[in-house]
Symmetry: C2
Subunit: 107 residues, 2 copies
DNA sequence: ACAAACCATAGCCAAATGGTTATTGATCGT
DNA sequence: ACGATCAATAACCATTTGGCTATGGTTTGT
């Protein structure tokens, strides 16, 4: 219970990397090529980021011929959600909006 | 709505810094000295981290004589919670465990 | 008055980070 | 068969980061 969120936080803290995760979350499975296209950075940079995300389980890669399709793995956010959940106890009494925000997450 | 979570994520991604925020969340207002004590790093390092946390609004400092009391400001987590909340829409239909986790956050 | 305590700042340094170009390996289309 | 495409890796580079020591500025206690 409530595992180390450091690795997940590090991954999401970089805007380029978070954009990859967001795009895969929104649009589903995509190739490296499609992800590189509008990213503003080179294909090797994207591959490296995807490798890092994969390493902490935030994405999964499926090789198909010469292409690799990546998909988001939101399960890997569990440590982060656990962390927020755990500390929400301490925040609750002085963060009025928290309750509303948490409700919004589970409508 | 759903502001940039990058700054907040960067702050929490460092273990030393997150430990400060956690400690202030658990134990309430504390001096720099008290925070430095069991941290394993020097007082200037702690002060620098507190300055960074303060800069993004995650803590607030109150000077009292020669001591400075810091407190956590969980309100500043709003961008992060908004981000998770926003993407939960996309995850919800393919992340079964999320629902359970979110329920655990708001029992 | 003055030494000690508390905190912030300055200056420095090693390591980590995020990017690049070049290259390689594999697969596809013609 | 072979040139083109896709992705990963290698090698390199600049910047950022997180730590340190040294110092300075206040405030406190004696």
């Amino acid at each position: 219970m409530h595992a180390e969120p450091t690795a997940v936080l590090k991954m999401l803290a970089d805007p380029t990397r978070r954009a990859l995760f967001e795009r895969l979350s929104r649009e589903g499975e995509m190739t490296v090529h499609a992800l590189t296209d509008p990213s503003g950075v080179s294909q090797p940079a994207i591959s490296k980021h995807l490798g890092a995300l994969k390493h902490v389980g935030l994405v999964r890669g499926r090789r198909d011929g010469r292409e690799t399709y990546y998909r988001a793995e939101p399960k890997a956010l569990a440590p982060l959600i656990d962390w927020i959940s755990f500390y929400s106890t301490f925040w609750h009494h002085r963060f009025d909006r928290l309750e509303a925000l948490l409700k919004r997450m589970d409508p």
